[in-house]
C-alpha cells in the first residue's frame, strides 16, 4: 500500500486487522510526511522514537488478537494535553521546558487503546486565538492555498487541523472552548466534534476556561470522529465535572438514516454582512438534510446576539484565575530578576515575558470583570445571560428539534497576518457561530460540505441535544454523504 498516511482511521484499522499493513508502516509513513512538512508548522514537538516503540507494541497486540479500534493508529496530540515525559507547553513561553510527570486522562485512554503518538501539535497560546498566530512557536499554516498568500488553519487547534488536512497523521486531538475544534476543522476541510461538556475528562489538559473547555477528535471524516470520540470520552473520577454516563458505540449508530428527524434553522444566525457563499452553503446543507428525509423548521434562539460578549467575559474571567499558577515559582520559565527585586517583581517579569499579548489581554480583561465593583456588572451578568442562552436551546429541543444546522464560520480561511492590525473583536467574531454551543455545554460538530468561490473549504455546524453525540454524528454522517466533499489540498509544502 502507498501513501499510508492518507488513510482514514477506519481504513487503517481494517487494514491492520486484515494484516495488510503494520502499525510500524503506518507510523513511518506519517513520520516521513511530517519530516517534509516543516513549512506547515503543525508539529511543535516530534516524538518519532516514542511513536515507533508504540507502533511495535501495537503490532504485537494486533498479532495477539487484542486490538481495540484505535490500536496501531498514529495520531497527533494538541500541545494543550499533558503527555508524560514529553514537552507540554500549551504553546506558551511560560511553560518552557515543562515535561509533565503525568498523562492526561484523554491521552491515557487513547494510548491504552493502542493509539500511537507522533508528536505534539501547534495551537494558539493557552488555546486563546482563532488563527494559531498567538503560538510561541510561530503560526501553523493551512495546507489549503489558492493564491500566493499563506492562510491560517484557524485556531486554537490550528496545528491539529493542519496536520490532519495535510495527512501528517491519521487524526488528531483538539480542544474547544469557544470553537477551537470546529472553526479550524471548517477552515481546513476536515471534521471536528466538540462533545457535550462533561463527556471528556479535562484532567491533564491545560485549563483555559474550565466551564467551557472540552476535548474532541479532529478527523478526516465523520466515521473517524465517531471511532475516536468513543475512545476519548467516559467518566473520570479525577474530574468533578465529568459525567458518569455510559459511552455508546458511536460508529454503530452511523446508519445515515435521518428520516423523520427535525432540523432547526436558527434565524439569528443570519448575520449582517455574511458572505453570500456562506449563505449558499447553509441553504444547500439545509436542502441536503431535507432531501435525506429530515423535517426542516425555522427556529429562534433569541439570546444569540449576547453570546459573544458573554463568552468574552466568562472565558477571560476563568482564564485569569486558571493562569495564576504560571508564576515562575515551581515549573516553566522564571524571568531573570534584578538586584533588589522581590517576589512581586519576579511575578511581574516572569508573566510579562512568559505570556504573549493575547494571553495578557485576556488575563487583564478577566481580572477586570471579576474585580470589586465590576463583578455584578460583568461576570454575574454574563452568568445570567449564559443561563438564558442555554434555555434558548432547551426550549427548541423541547419543541422536538433534534439538531440545529448553522454555518461553522462566518468566512473561509483568511490570510496569516491579515488580522494583525484589526481590532481584537474582529478576530473574536470568528467564534460567533460556535461559542453559543460552549456556553450551553452542547455537542457540536463541523462537517466540510463544499468549496467556496475561491476554492477554499467551508463547513457547516450541527448542534445536538446534550449527551446525544451518537445521534448528532449520524445526522452529520447523512450530511457528509449528501455533500460528498472529497477535495484535498494540493501539496505545495
Amino acid at each position: 500500500m502507498s501513501d499510508l498516511n492518507k488513510l482514514k482511521l477506519a481504513e487503517a484499522r481494517d487494514a491492520l486487522r486484515k494484516g495488510d499493513v503494520t502499525s510500524v508502516e503506518l507510523t513511518e509513513a506519517c513520520l516521513s510526511a511530517i519530516e517534509g512538512a516543516d513549512a506547515l508548522g503543525a508539529y511543535v514537538h516530534k516524538t518519532p522514537e516514542i511513536a515507533i516503540d508504540m507502533a511495535k507494541a501495537a503490532d504485537a497486540r494486533i498479532k495477539a488478537g487484542d486490538a481495540p479500534d484505535l490500536c496501531g493508529l498514529p495520531l497527533g496530540i494538541k500541545d494543550l494535553f499533558c503527555t508524560k515525559g514529553v514537552a507540554s507547553q500549551a504553546a506558551s513561553r511560560i511553560l518552557e521546558g515543562f515535561k509533565p510527570e503525568y498523562e492526561s486522562t484523554v491521552t491515557t485512554q487513547l494510548f491504552d487503546a493502542g493509539a500511537v503518538m507522533l508528536g505534539k501539535l501547534n495551537m494558539d497560546e493557552f488555546a486563546m486565538g482563532s488563527s494559531n498566530e498567538t503560538s510561541v512557536y510561530g503560526n501553523a499554516v493551512n495546507p489549503w492555498k489558492v493564491d500566493d498568500r499563506q492562510l491560517t488553519p484557524g485556531g486554537s487547534s490550528g496545528g491539529s487541523a493542519s496536520a490532519v488536512a495535510a495527512d501528517l497523521c491519521l487524526a488528531a486531538t483538539g480542544t474547544d472552548t469557544g470553537g477551537s475544534i470546529r472553526q479550524p476543522a471548517a477552515f481546513t476541510g476536515i471534521t471536528g466534534i466538540k462533545p457535550t461538556y462533561g463527556r471528556c475528562s479535562r484532567w491533564g489538559i491545560v485549563a483555559f476556561a474550565s466551564s467551557l473547555d472540552q476535548a474532541g477528535p479532529m478527523t478526516k471524516d465523520v466515521r473517524d470522529a465517531a471511532i475516536m470520540l468513543e475512545a476519548m470520552c467516559g467518566h473520570d473520577p479525577k474530574d468533578s465535572t465529568s459525567a458518569d454516563l455510559a459511552v455508546p458505540n458511536f460508529e454503530a449508530m452511523l446508519t445515515g438514516d435521518i428520516k423523520g428527524k427535525t432540523i432547526g434553522i436558527p434565524k439569528e444566525y443570519h448575520m449582517d454582512g455574511m458572505p453570500a457563499e456562506i449563505e449558499k452553503l447553509w441553504a444547500d446543507g439545509t436542502e441536503m438534510l431535507k432531501a435525506a428525509g429530515a423535517k426542516i423548521v425555522d427556529i429562534s434562539l433569541p439570546h444569540t446576539k449576547y453570546a459573544l460578549p458573554t463568552y468574552y467575559v466568562i472565558a477571560p474571567a476563568e482564564a485569569s484565575s486558571n493562569l495564576a499558577r504560571y508564576d515562575g515559582v515551581r515549573y516553566g520559565r522564571r524571568a531573570q530578576i534584578g538586584k533588589g527585586d522581590g517576589i512581586t517583581e519576579m511575578y511581574e517579569k516572569t508573566r510579562a515575558e512568559g505570556f504573549g499579548h493575547e494571553v495578557q489581554r485576556r488575563v487583564m480583561v478577566g481580572t477586570y470583570v471579576l474585580s470589586a465593583g465590576f463583578y455584578d456588572a460583568y461576570y454575574n451578568r454574563a452568568r445570567k445571560v449564559r443561563t438564558l442562552i442555554k434555555k434558548d436551546f432547551e426550549d427548541v429541543f423541547a419543541q422536538g428539534v433534534d439538531a440545529i444546522l448553522t454555518p461553522a464560520t462566518p468566512s473561509a480561511a483568511f490570510g496569516l497576518g491579515e488580522m494583525q492590525n484589526a481590532d481584537p473583536v474582529q478576530m473574536y467574531l470568528n467564534d460567533v457561530f460556535t461559542v453559543t454551543v460552549n456556553l450551553a455545554g452542547l455537542p457540536g460538530i463541523s462537517v466540510p460540505t463544499g468549496l467556496g468561490s475561491t476554492g477554499l473549504p467551508l463547513g457547516l455546524q450541527l448542534i445536538g441535544r446534550p449527551w446525544e453525540e451518537g445521534d448528532l454524528l449520524n445526522t452529520a454522517y447523512a450530511l457528509e454523504q449528501a455533500a460528498g466533499f472529497v477535495a484535498k489540498p494540493e501539496k505545495w509544502w
Binding site: C82, L95, P100, R202, S320, S321, A324, D327, L370
Partner: protein
C-alpha cells in the same frame, strides 16, 4: 430536662483618659479538619513530615490538575455544624479567592464565600459557675490551607513548604458577641473542647491546627446594646483584624493592647482605620500588616472545576444520630445525676477522656461525689506530677473504684486509701488484695481499740492529767493509738473511745 441556665457576664470596661470604653470582639477560627487526606487531593496531612513530601500534583498546581472533594472532610464539617447546633445547608458551593503568594501554588484558595456549608449556630462560653456568654455563630465554611513560606533560612532566598497546602480547614465565623479578652480566650477554649468531643479537629494550637483571626473594636457604654436591638453595625466602632493567633495567652494580650491602641487614637480625636494587623508578643503591640494601597481584591467567583456540593438530609440525619454527648449536656448531667458541683463537673468534662474515666469510676464505685474527689484530687494530681495523660493512666477506673469501695465499706481510712492508691499507681494490682495482703484493713473491733487506748492511758499518766485539764490534747492520745495500731484503727472509733476513757 437538664438545667443549662446561666447569666451573661459583664462586658470588659477599659477606662480611657477621658471616659470608659467597652470592647466588641468577633472571631474567625480556623480549625484544621481531623482527616488523613487533604481537601482536594489524596496527599497525606501528617504533621512534621519532610518539607514538600506530602504534595500531590493538585497541591503543587501542576498544569491541568483538578480538585476532587474529600467526602470525609464534608462529613466532619457537617458534624461540627451539628455540634454547634447550626443550620446545615444542603446546597453549598466552592469559590476561588484569588491572590498571588508563593505558598499558594494555584494563585487562588478554594473556599466557600457565597454558599457556606453551615449557617447560624451558637456556643455557650462558660466564664464561671452560672455565668456564661452565648456567642452566635454566623457560618462555617470549608476551605484549603496555604503552604508555608520560610524567610529565615537564607539571607537572599525564601523557601516554600507545600505540605500544608490544600489541607482542609473549617473557618468558624462568630458574630461580634464577645465582650472581653478573657471571653475571647474562653470562646476559643470552648470551641476547641467541642471540636475535640466531636473528633473533627484535634485542637492542637501549637501546630497551628487551631488558630484565630480576632476582630476588635471599641465603643462607648450603651452603644453595643443599640447594636443588639437593631443589628446595625454603625453603632459599633471601626474594627481591626488581628491575624493568625495560635495561643490563648496571646489572644488575650493582643486584644487588650489593640483595644488600648484604638482608645488612644479615638480619645486624641483620630479615627481607627479598618485594617489587618499582626500581634508581636515580644513587644506586646499590634502592627499594620499592609497598607490600604496593598489591600487585596480577591476577585471571588464560583470555582468552575467543582460542582455545587449537594448533600441529602438523610445523610445529615445519620451524622446527627452518631453525635456524641457534648460538653454542656454532659456537664449538666454530671451535676444532676452525680450531685457534683458545677465546678467539679466542668473540670471533669473539660476533656471527653476525663469524663469517660470519671463515669466509669463513679459507675463501678456507686458514688459520684467520692469518685469526683478521687479523680480530680488524687488521680489528676498524680498524673500531672508525672506529666502523663489520662489515656495512659496506670490506674484503671476499675482499680480506682475498688479503692473507693474499700473506703465506703469502712475497710480502710482515707489516709490508708492514699497509700493504697500509690501502690496501685506504681506497682499495679487489685486494691482489695493489696489491703488484705499488706494487712492494711482498718480495725473496727472496739475491743481491740479499747485495749490499745487502755495501754496508752496506762503508760502516760502525766499526759492524762494534762488532757483532762485541756481537752484539746486528747488528739495526742488518738495519734498514739493510731500509731500503735499501724494506722489501721478506724479513726472515728478511736476518737470516741479516747474521749470516753478520758472522761471528756
Amino acid at each position: 430536662m437538664l438545667d443549662l441556665s446561666f447569666e451573661s457576664p459583664k462586658p470588659k470596661v477599659i477606662a480611657g483618659a477621658k471616659h470608659d470604653w467597652e470592647l466588641v470582639i468577633g472571631m474567625e477560627v480556623h480549625a484544621q479538619i481531623a482527616t488523613k487526606a487533604k481537601l482536594f487531593s489524596g496527599a497525606s496531612t501528617q504533621f512534621g513530615a519532610e518539607p514538600n513530601s506530602n504534595v500531590a500534583f493538585v497541591d503543587a498546581a501542576m498544569p491541568g490538575m483538578l480538585p476532587v472533594i474529600n467526602e470525609f472532610c464534608v462529613e466532619q464539617a457537617v458534624r461540627t455544624g451539628l455540634g454547634l447546633k447550626a443550620q446545615i445547608n444542603l446546597f453549598s458551593a466552592f469559590d476561588r479567592k484569588n491572590y498571588f503568594y508563593p505558598d499558594l501554588p494555584q494563585g487562588y484558595q478554594i473556599s466557600q464565600l457565597y454558599h457556606p456549608i453551615v449557617g447560624e449556630g451558637e456556643v455557650i462560653v462558660d466564664m464561671e459557675p452560672g455565668i456564661a456568654r452565648l456567642v452566635r455563630i454566623e457560618r462555617i465554611h470549608i476551605e484549603q490551607d496555604a503552604g508555608k513560606s520560610i524567610h529565615d533560612m537564607d539571607p537572599a532566598m525564601s523557601f516554600v513548604d507545600l505540605n500544608r497546602t490544600g489541607v482542609a480547614l473549617m473557618e468558624i465565623v462568630s458574630r461580634p458577641d464577645i465582650r472581653g479578652p478573657e471571653e475571647a480566650a474562653a470562646y476559643v477554649g470552648k470551641l476547641r473542647q467541642i471540636l475535640r468531643y466531636l473528633g473533627t479537629c484535634d485542637g492542637n494550637m501549637q501546630n497551628g491546627n487551631l488558630r484565630a483571626d480576632v476582630n476588635v473594636s471599641v465603643c462607648r457604654p450603651g452603644a453595643y446594646e443599640k447594636y443588639q436591638e437593631t443589628q446595625d453595625f454603625s453603632h459599633l466602632g471601626t474594627r481591626c483584624e488581628i491575624k493568625n493567633m495560635n495561643s490563648m495567652r496571646f489572644i488575650q494580650a493582643a486584644i487588650d493592647v489593640e483595644a488600648r491602641r484604638q482608645i488612644a487614637i479615638l480619645e486624641s480625636g483620630g479615627s481607627v482605620d479598618q485594617e489587618t494587623r499582626l500581634y508581636d508578643p515580644d513587644k506586646n503591640e499590634t502592627r499594620s500588616m499592609r497598607s490600604k494601597e496593598e489591600a487585596h481584591d480577591y476577585r471571588y467567583f464560583p470555582d468552575p472545576d467543582l460542582l455545587p456540593l449537594e448533600i441529602e438530609q438523610e445523610w445529615v440525619d445519620g451524622i446527627a444520630a452518631s453525635l456524641p454527648e457534648l460538653p454542656d449536656e454532659k456537664k449538666a448531667r454530671f451535676v444532676k445525676d452525680f450531685g457534683l458541683s458545677e465546678y467539679d463537673a466542668s473540670v471533669l468534662t473539660a476533656e471527653v477522656q476525663n469524663a469517660s474515666y470519671f463515669e466509669a469510676v463513679a459507675g463501678a464505685a456507686g458514688d459520684g461525689k467520692l469518685a469526683a474527689n478521687w479523680v480530680i484530687n488524687e488521680l489528676f494530681g498524680r498524673l500531672k506530677k508525672d506529666d502523663r495523660d489520662i489515656t495512659d493512666s496506670p490506674v484503671s477506673p476499675e482499680q480506682l473504684a475498688g479503692i473507693i469501695k474499700l473506703i465506703k465499706a469502712g475497710d480502710i481510712s482515707g489516709k490508708i486509701a492514699k497509700d493504697v492508691f500509690e501502690i496501685v499507681y506504681t506497682e499495679g494490682g487489685d486494691p482489695a488484695q493489696i489491703v488484705e495482703a499488706k494487712g492494711l484493713k482498718q480495725v473496727t473491733d472496739t475491743g481491740a481499740i479499747e485495749k490499745a487506748v487502755d495501754d496508752v492511758i496506762a503508760a502516760n499518766p502525766a499526759q492524762v492529767e494534762k488532757a483532762q485539764q485541756n481537752p484539746k490534747l486528747a488528739g495526742w492520745f488518738v495519734g498514739q493509738v493510731m500509731k500503735a495500731t499501724g494506722g489501721k484503727a478506724n479513726p472515728a472509733a478511736v476518737n470516741q473511745i479516747v474521749m470516753a476513757k478520758l472522761g471528756l
